[in-house]
């Protein structure tokens, strides 16, 4: 972990991980045992979350008001570290699941299942399987995509693209779905579905990014529903060195090191905020910086040596060991770097040409009334949320940092802001954080506790959850922008 003595052991652990996988591949019956960690998250010590919770009446009220399951689930518990945000999150989620909308209730949950299945997020799947049945869904559908009406099945293509390569969505996809015929979707229905898909893809990112534990609920132990795919390798979880241990066991040098890292980061932020961008940064320079960032995001994960085994292998693993694949088709389809695609002249999405505020909102709100306002509030909330603190420091303006996180996510989806200097990303986001961001947004199912721990070691857990919220919303907005742009093009 620290640069001190523990890094060899870390490496060993990673090796063990691959070993585990090999073992798993050999004997598919081996089930990773449930982690013994308590509390809502495998990454965050229980007391951090619980402490915050007991204080908070507000959260309970919100859960009362907006939770569909009527209880405080783990996601909510972790999010309740940021109550302000939690409210807009729950409100929009409740609206899309329960309030007036073009889709019938069981459909909504089934779509949520389909979306979560793209990332093998068993947590969300279990949750919605339950809700699906509760709202009167047909149990047979849960046997897989072959059992659902063709209409829902048709949604599969757009689900796949939206989850992994949203830039490939074209108006032809939309046309195919809304073309009059036996199984066509009306535009409001489609928009509802797209909002649900984007929401649950993004939420899967959050679930993995924050290491949300499965609900320990005796009620669901209805065998056939419970899909248990464990996303964290045993050895990874067993190695329970959270921040405290790490800093205790590590040498003093480590602490000093990460402290100075923090100072340096703050220094850089301050500099960026005060000093005007040198005029010399020419047009080409800016473009290059964006391209560079895009390219670099290419290497971020593949550069992570521990995942250097071939993708196909890895994916096979995931598929074989999971029952969730029955909700998806073409499970091998995954994120492919936008930069790599870029070489085939896929145009960069210019953020200014299709913004959420101007265009996305109007379209969404027109076709699925009021959701626009809720999403708008949520995006605004997450973008502007700040406590003006960084780790132990107070009164810090974190605007640049938040913007860097948001734009970096969009950058990986090929969305470029003309007015952003992508050099800032490089200055503000350290490599381990980039690894984490990339994993959480693009391959959330591969997130490990180690990744979570390895960046920003001095920061509080609540701050890391804040990062996750930013990543989640940025991802959701990116998906929505691509989908809505396609719908707009279809309309014109």
């Amino acid at each position: 972990m620290n640069r001190g003595g523990s890094s060899p052991s870390a490496a060993a652990n990673y090796l063990l991980c691959t070993n585990c996988r090999k073992v798993l591949r050999k004997d598919k019956r081996i089930r990773v045992s449930q982690p013994l960690t308590r509390g809502p998250s495998a990454f965050i010590p229980e007391k951090e979350v619980v402490q915050a919770n007991t204080v908070d009446e507000r959260t309970n009220f919100l859960v009362e008001e907006y939770s569909t399951s009527g209880r405080l689930d783990n996601i909510t518990q972790v999010m309740s570290l940021h109550t302000q945000y939690l409210e807009s999150f729950l409100r929009s989620q409740f609206y899309m699941l329960r309030m007036d909308g073009p889709l019938p209730l069981p459909y909504r949950h089934y779509i949520a299942i389909m979306a979560a299945a793209r990332h093998q997020c068993s947590y969300l799947i279990n949750m919605h399987v339950d809700e699906f049945l509760k709202t009167g869904g047909i149990a047979e559908w849960l046997n897989g995509l072959e059992y659902v009406p063709q209409r829902l099945k048709n949604l599969n293509e757009i689900n796949k693209l939206l989850a992994h390569r949203p830039w490939l969505i074209t108006k032809e996809h939309i046309q195919k779905l809304v073309k009059t015929g036996e199984n066509n979707w009306s535009l409001p229905e489609l928009v509802h579905a797209v909002v649900l898909l984007a929401h649950y893809h993004a939420l899967a990112s959050f679930v993995f990014g924050s290491g949300i534990n499965p609900e320990r609920d005796p009620e669901i132990s209805n065998g056939f529903r419970l899909i248990s795919v464990n996303n964290f390798c045993v050895c990874d979880l067993a190695n329970d060195n959270n921040i405290e241990n790490a800093s205790l066991t590590g040498s003093n040098f480590g602490i000093v090191d990460s402290l100075s890292e923090l100072e340096a980061l703050m220094e850089r932020m301050k500099r960026l905020q005060e000093e005007r961008e040198d005029e010399e940064a020419s047009q080409e320079e800016m473009t290059t910086r964006f391209e560079k960032e895009k390219k670099e995001s290419l290497f971020v994960v593949s550069g992570d040596t521990f995942h250097s085994f071939p993708h196909s292998d890895f994916e096979d693993d995931m598929i074989v060991t999971s029952d969730v694949s029955r909700y998806i088709e073409d499970p091998g389809f995954g994120y492919e770097d936008f930069a790599r695609r870029g070489e085939e002249h896929l145009p960069t999405f210019r953020a200014q040409d299709y913004t959420w505020e101007n265009h996305g909102f109007s379209l969404v709100n027109r076709l699925y009334s009021d959701i626009g306002h809720l999403l708008d509030e949520k995006f605004r909330m997450v973008y502007n949320l700040t406590y003006n603190t960084m780790a132990t420091h107070e009164d810090v303006d974190t605007t640049t940092l938040r913007r860097a996180l948001f734009n970096y996510v969009h950058c990986m989806f090929g969305i470029r802001y003309d007015d952003y200097d992508y050099g800032e990303v490089n200055q503000l986001l350290e490599r381990s954080l980039k690894v984490y961001i990339k994993t959480v947004t693009c391959y959330p199912e591969r997130t490990t506790k180690r990744m979570y721990d390895s960046y920003w070691r001095q920061f509080k857990h609540s701050e890391k959850v804040h990062v996750n919220l930013l990543l989640m919303e940025a991802r959701m907005q990116a998906e929505l922008l691509y989908a809505l742009r396609a719908i707009t093009r279809h309309l014109t």
Partner: protein, 789 residues
């Protein structure tokens, strides 16, 4: 733009000529601006920056300002503005936050003059001072507005909106120092250019971003704003509090707004999304646009009046890569297409009717409403010569009063309540209705019913009808029964209409589930009645089919005449199934109902009682004169039309329902629909909800039976935790308790729940009724004296 009211141009106010025309650009436009000579227009966009000359017949490209091998982001324009004092001076706002000025007088190919890189985010808007040559204002996404003096290298002053982003900035035309800015959070601020520390005034104008604003060219202090909330508002800023004077509701978010020159109350708008047209509104008539330009195929991004004193020429640029000149005389006027008549009932049966002057004048001689005492009152609007469509706007209002007492409609109510429309053999229905009519003293109607009975119920006819019927169907007399329970028997022809069940929303998947079970039940039922092989392949189809194939059905399986009534039939019994399956007694009753639904004997033939009836009729066949079955139908149809013309639509609809299939095909769908809707409307006016519902249910017109499928959701809250119960009506998702227990039997009530409004105890309808027959106290033992009426 049209701000230079004091500058006279070389062309003069009236010299402009031209026609409606457009030219293709290479790329989508983001903004346009007109030169003060009204002969040139500049178009700017992400990858276009060109000046076009406006000639008589066409646009001619004059200059391409986008030079250089590598296009720079500085050239990716979000906005462009042409100085109204200096023909050589332009400014653009770039998406990367740079403000660029251009001097057309430069000798080199590159006309770029100055570069201001002070904004950190995209600059949304630039604006020149209307009378000062060197003052430029910009508003940016970063929440700052900056004022530049073009003689200096950097900004003179910076204004902080204390808010997210500035969407528009506009110098006031009348007040030298004032400018307005609009913000993404819905605020509008008024600034004094000399005081950068704080704004003079701020108010919330819109819900959501305010995309644009424009000062009135003549009226001091009038500001028009347009926002994402689809509104255009006109504010009077001269009063201490900004006062909203007018509000126009458009159909999409408003991207640009421009006052029309020389027309005090007119302004032009275009929208950001979805809607591609440009509208010109008279703010005093906010409901219908005065004019509409429909040339563009994608959203319009920039509009500009060609000359500050000419109201006829409008230029526009669009995302569809075209530049257009619109002439006012070529505009389409939605008013012409509007329906200028209005009609309304008063509380006591008075009728008010408003129409165009000309129309009323023409008709008044004819006295179309003879029979009513007539007290026409005419109002005439004063004509406003300034209004272009004042001629259309003048209208007359007539009020017709009903005679006191004469308007009594008790016969209508009585008839509606007492008529029997279905559920019995035709002969009985006719007899019953004749009796009702006679008792109410309507002898002609009574006579008609009697005649109908004679025409249609002379036994021979029935036998021949049922003969035809069985031939058509083979031996599958059980078939209609299946129909009444199954969703799937929709013909391909009905495919599009079958999607109606979407409106059922949540219940839909339930339906599918029930569907299969219903099939099984029917199968068992049929076993004994026929035992033949016909339904077998019918059912086979279901078993093989996938979920979605439950809907279509091979045409061969359907009796050629069936499609007409298949749909309503499917819809209603099924819904009852959903509601009532669990509760025994209701279920029985429901079953008894189902044959009525079709209202036609063809279906009823499958059920036992009616079977015996048809047997009976066969035995009477000897007396038959053997007339073809449709011998009288022409006559009957004429009769129905007669009644409808007379205003007795009740009779027309009742006969239509009672006779069902026999006459339906001879009257066109639209007329039927019209009758139905009129009758239902009447019934609802008399609060005869039950009757109107029955009529809707029995109607065979698709549009009518749809009425009962709209807003069918009933929201229920849990009595313990007060939360809405989403999935089922009787068990709460949250507290996992059964909400509605019957006070008598202590079981869960899943169907009709009746409760006392005094003590709020209740239970099964039958149980409560029974209980209250024997006791007047509440069954829950609370001591309340409940009443049941």
């Amino acid at each position: 733009m049209e701000k230079m009211s004091r500058v006279t141009t070389a062309l003069g106010g009236s010299a402009l000529t031209g026609r409606t025309m457009h030219c293709h650009l290479d790329a989508p436009a983001n903004a346009i601006s007109v030169c003060r000579d009204a002969a040139q227009v500049v178009v700017a966009g992400r990858s276009i920056f060109k000046i076009y000359a406006i000639e008589e017949e066409q646009f001619v490209e004059k200059l391409n300002l986008r030079v250089g091998r590598k296009p720079s982001l500085n050239l990716s324009c979000a906005d462009v503005v042409w100085h109204q004092m200096d023909e050589n001076l332009l400014a653009t706002a770039a998406t990367n936050g740079v403000v660029v000025t251009w001097n057309l007088g430069r000798p080199s190919r590159n006309k770029q003059d100055q570069l201001f890189t002070e904004h950190k985010r995209t600059v949304n808007k630039v604006c020149f001072h209307p009378t000062e040559a060197h003052v430029l204002l910009s508003g940016s996404q970063d929440g700052f507005m900056k004022c530049f003096d073009l003689r200096r290298k950097d900004s003179v002053s910076t204004f902080s909106g204390q808010s997210e982003s500035v969407r528009d900035v506009q110098f006031s035309i009348r007040d030298y120092f004032t400018f307005a800015s609009t913000f993404e959070n819905g605020n509008v601020q008024l600034w004094d250019i000399r005081r950068p520390d704080r704004c003079e005034r701020m108010f919330t104008a819109h819900n959501g971003p305010v995309f644009c604003c424009d000062w009135h060219p003549e009226d001091r202090g009038w500001l028009a704003t347009g926002g994402r909330d689809k509104m255009v508002k006109v504010w009077d800023m001269t009063t201490p509090r900004a006062k909203e004077m007018h509000c126009v509701q458009t159909i999409a978010s408003v991207a640009r707004v421009k006052w029309r020159p020389e027309c005090r109350h007119h302004l032009a708008t275009c929208s950001m999304m979805v809607d591609h047209n440009i509208y010109v509104w008279d703010v005093r008539r906010p409901f219908v646009p005065a004019a509409m330009f429909e040339e563009h195929r994608d959203v319009t991004t920039g509009i500009a009046w060609r000359h500050p004193h000419d109201p006829c020429f409008l230029l526009s640029g669009s995302k569809d890569s075209t530049l257009c000149q619109h002439l006012f005389r070529d505009a389409s006027q939605p008013v012409e297409r509007a329906n200028p008549e209005g009609l309304c009932y008063g509380l006591f049966g008075d009728v008010a009717f408003a129409a165009k002057d000309s129309l009323v004048a023409a008709e008044s001689g004819r006295k179309p409403y003879a029979g009513d005492r007539r007290h026409p009152i005419f109002f005439k609007r004063k004509l406003d010569p300034a209004e272009p469509f004042s001629g259309l706007a003048s209208s007359a209002l007539s009020v017709f009063e009903t005679e006191p007492g004469g308007g009594s409609m008790s016969w209508f109510v009585d008839t509606a309540e007492r008529y029997a429309l279905a559920g019995r053999p035709l002969a009985e229905l006719c007899d019953h209705n004749a009796k009702v009519a006679r008792e109410l003293g309507r002898n002609q109607v009574a006579q008609t019913w009697t005649m109908l009975r004679i025409i249609y119920c002379s036994p021979g006819l029935v036998s021949s009808a049922s003969l035809n019927h069985s031939v058509g169907k083979g031996s599958s007399c059980g078939l209609p029964l299946i129909n009444s329970f199954n969703l799937k028997d929709m013909t391909p022809g009905l495919g599009s209409e079958t999607r109606l069940d979407r409106s059922k929303g949540d219940t839909r998947s339930d339906t599918v589930l029930l569907d299969s079970s219903a099939t099984l039940i029917t199968n068992e039922d049929n076993e004994e009645t026929e035992g033949s092989d016909v339904p077998a392949d019918y059912l086979l189809g279901d078993v093989e089919g996938e979920e979605d194939e439950l809907y279509p059905l091979d045409p061969e399986h359907v009796h050629p005449e069936e499609p007409e009534y298949v749909l309503p039939q499917e819809a209603f019994p099924l819904r009852h199934e959903i509601l009532d399956t669990p509760s025994g007694p209701e279920h029985l009753q429901d079953k008894a109902d189902s044959p009525h639904v079709s209202g036609s004997e063809a279906d009823a033939a499958s059920l036992a009682p009616v079977d015996s009836f048809s047997l009976l009729s066969i035995s009477h066949a000897l007396y038959d004169s053997r007339l073809p079955s449709d011998f009288f139908s022409v006559l009957v149809c004429d009769m129905l039309r007669f009644y409808a013309e007379q205003g007795d639509v009740q009779m027309a609809v009742s006969v239509l329902i009672v006779l069902g299939e026999r006459v339906r095909k001879d009257i066109d769908e639209q007329t039927q629909e019209h009758w139905y809707t009129s009758y239902i409307d009447l019934l609802q006016r008399f609060c005869l909800w039950n009757v109107s519902n029955e009529v809707v249910k029995l109607s065979t017109s698709r549009a009518v039976s749809c009425l009962n499928q709209a807003s069918t959701t009933l929201h229920v809250n849990c009595s313990h935790c007060k939360r809405p119960m989403s999935s089922r009506g009787w068990v709460c998702d949250r507290c996992h308790r059964c909400a509605s227990m019957c006070a008598v039997c202590h079981h869960v009530v899943k169907g009709l729940f009746v409760w006392c409004q005094g003590c709020s105890h209740g239970g099964h309808l039958q149980h409560i009724m029974k209980w209250l027959e024997g006791s007047s106290h509440c069954p829950a033992g609370c001591g309340h004296l409940c009443e049941y009426s």
